[in-house]
């Protein structure tokens, strides 16, 4: 039999290295939440559609419900808990606060990570480009208007920085 049913996952999360032996079928989102206690990454649809589980893998936004923890071994993960620095919110987080880009907040960690990615790829997006960039994130509360406003505000703030 090639491989093993338990795998050692060595992954750096928010700058801290971790090592754990887990069943091979463990998804990254469950590794983060259940092994490391980082419950800011949410499980929403669990079918690769809603984006609530979005994290950055080697700096690129991905859906952690559709990646095995084993695939992330040897790589770096950034979760919502890793964005604020020295008690200061990341500009995208601050923009969601200022523009009230949330209601219940369930989708927000994924939205923040997704907006961070789309602004890294396109620092000055149109509203249409923001909405296209957020095609992989679903919000059931806001109607998206304030999320788009938050992305726009974050873009302006990051361009000044």
């Amino acid at each position: 039999m090639p491989g093993s049913r338990d795998v050692t996952v060595e992954v750096t999360v928010n700058g801290t290295p971790h090592s754990a032996e887990v069943p091979a079928r463990t998804l990254l989102v469950h590794f983060l939440r259940d092994r490391l206690g980082l419950t800011g990454t949410h499980v929403g649809c669990d079918t690769t559609q809603c984006g609530a589980c979005t994290v950055a893998l080697d700096g690129v936004a991905v859906k952690s419900c559709t990646i095995l923890a084993a695939q992330a071994s040897g790589h770096e993960v950034t979760t919502i808990e890793g964005l604020a620095q020295a008690g200061r919110l990341h500009p995208v987080q601050q923009a969601f606060w200022t523009e009230h880009g949330l209601q219940c907040g369930y989708c927000t960690p994924g939205m923040v990570l997704a907006v961070r990615q789309l602004l890294a790829d396109n620092p000055d997006p149109s509203d249409a480009e923001i909405r296209a960039g957020l095609a992989g994130n679903i919000c059931r509360c806001t109607g998206y208007q304030n999320i788009v406003a938050a992305a726009r505000a974050a873009a302006a703030r990051l361009r000044e920085a």
């Binding site: 039999m1 090639p2 491989g3 093993s4 049913r5 795998v7 069943p23 091979a24 079928r25 998804l27 469950h30 669990d46 079918t47 690769t48 559609q49 984006g51 979005t54 893998l57 690129v60 936004a61 991905v62 859906k63 559709t66 990646i67 095995l68 084993a70 695939q71 071994s73 997704a114 990615q117 789309l118 790829d121 509203d127 249409a128 480009e129 909405r131 296209a132 960039g133 095609a135 992989g136 994130n137």
Partner: protein, 312 residues
């Protein structure tokens, strides 16, 4: 949701992957190759796939990247991600239809992980890229312990989740010959999955005011993506007028038995394919620089798949 249990091995090289596949075959195990996992893992979570073992080929350096030779032939290694292709200026310049598709394929997170080879080997009848790759007359390269073979993509695709990938084989690359600039991809998507209810790619060459070559391929409509040969024949030596394009587009489903599911009936998918064929051909002709065919948007209806998703 969790996948059923399996064993996991990460291959460090193509030789390593082939050896692991052979090991699995020797112990009569159902092994699947894992590249980006953006199709396979969701199927495993739904227990639609329950392989005994996964052999992870994602990120193998020799299976990643894009090369181009002097004749303009482009080779895309199998585990190159959609994201890498979308951001590769050589791909954008040479294959605008591929860039069209990559911009509307799934979402940015899925594009960061999903791979072109994984897409082709998966055989999903509703995937975007097979239409584009068929219209660009792609060939696939398949490696096994017995050596390497190539196959036309049109022969490789067989049916719903069925391809010509033999046991013990790894799809290593997709090769595209140089293509004319007159190419475009249009889709109408199912909004939750972003998969096309229908998608059409057109690749057109014009000269002396007529179409000298047209290749049109359709996805999402039948059990596998297919070349719309009747449409192509109808365009041969035709002037690229809106009327000629409309006539050709109406033939896009000739001889095809469309699939139906909870999202769309067969006749609706065929209707979409005809509309999208006209749009794709019109835009391909515009990009070819023929200029004879103005945009024909006279009968467009509100298209939910495009709301807020205009291209740059």
């Amino acid at each position: 949701m969790f996948p059923a249990g399996f064993s996991y091995a990460r291959a460090g090289s193509l030789a390593d992957a082939l050896s692991l596949l052979a090991d699995a075959a020797a112990s009569d195990e159902d092994a699947r190759l894992l590249a980006g996992g953006q199709s396979l893992l969701p199927m495993m979570k739904l227990r639609l796939a329950t392989p005994h073992s996964l052999i992870d080929i994602g990120g193998i350096p020799e299976l990643t990247g894009v090369t181009r030779d002097g004749a303009g032939t482009t080779t895309i290694k199998a585990v190159t991600t959609y994201r890498a292709l979308q951001h590769d200026p050589r791909v954008t310049a040479a294959f605008p239809a591929l860039t069209d598709a990559l911009a509307v394929l799934a979402d940015q997170q899925v594009r960061a992980r999903g791979t072109i080879g994984g897409c082709v080997a998966h055989g999903d009848p509703a995937a975007d890229l097979p239409a584009v790759l068929l219209a660009l007359t792609a060939t696939v390269t398949l490696a096994s312990r017995n050596g390497t073979r190539t196959a036309a993509l049109d022969d490789f695709l067989q049916g719903v989740f069925a391809t010509g990938l033999a046991p013990g084989e790894v799809l290593t690359a997709i090769t595209l010959p140089a293509a004319p600039p007159g190419q475009a991809y249009e889709k109408f998507e199912q909004p939750a999955s972003h998969l096309p209810l229908a998608g059409v790619c057109a690749v057109v060459t014009t000269g002396n005011g007529v179409i000298t070559s047209a290749k049109v391929a359709v996805t999402g409509v039948a059990g596998r993506a297919f070349r719309a040969l009747d449409t192509e024949r109808s365009l041969a030596s035709a002037q690229p007028t809106p009327a000629a394009i409309a006539t050709a587009a109406a033939r896009v489903g000739t001889g095809v038995r469309p699939l139906a599911d909870q999202h769309a009936s067969g006749p609706f998918r065929l209707h979409l394919a005809q509309v999208l064929a006209r749009r794709a051909l019109t835009r391909a002709v515009e990009r070819a620089g023929a200029g004879a065919a103005g945009p024909d948007r006279s009968d467009e209806y509100p298209d939910a798949s495009r709301t807020g998703r205009e291209r740059r």
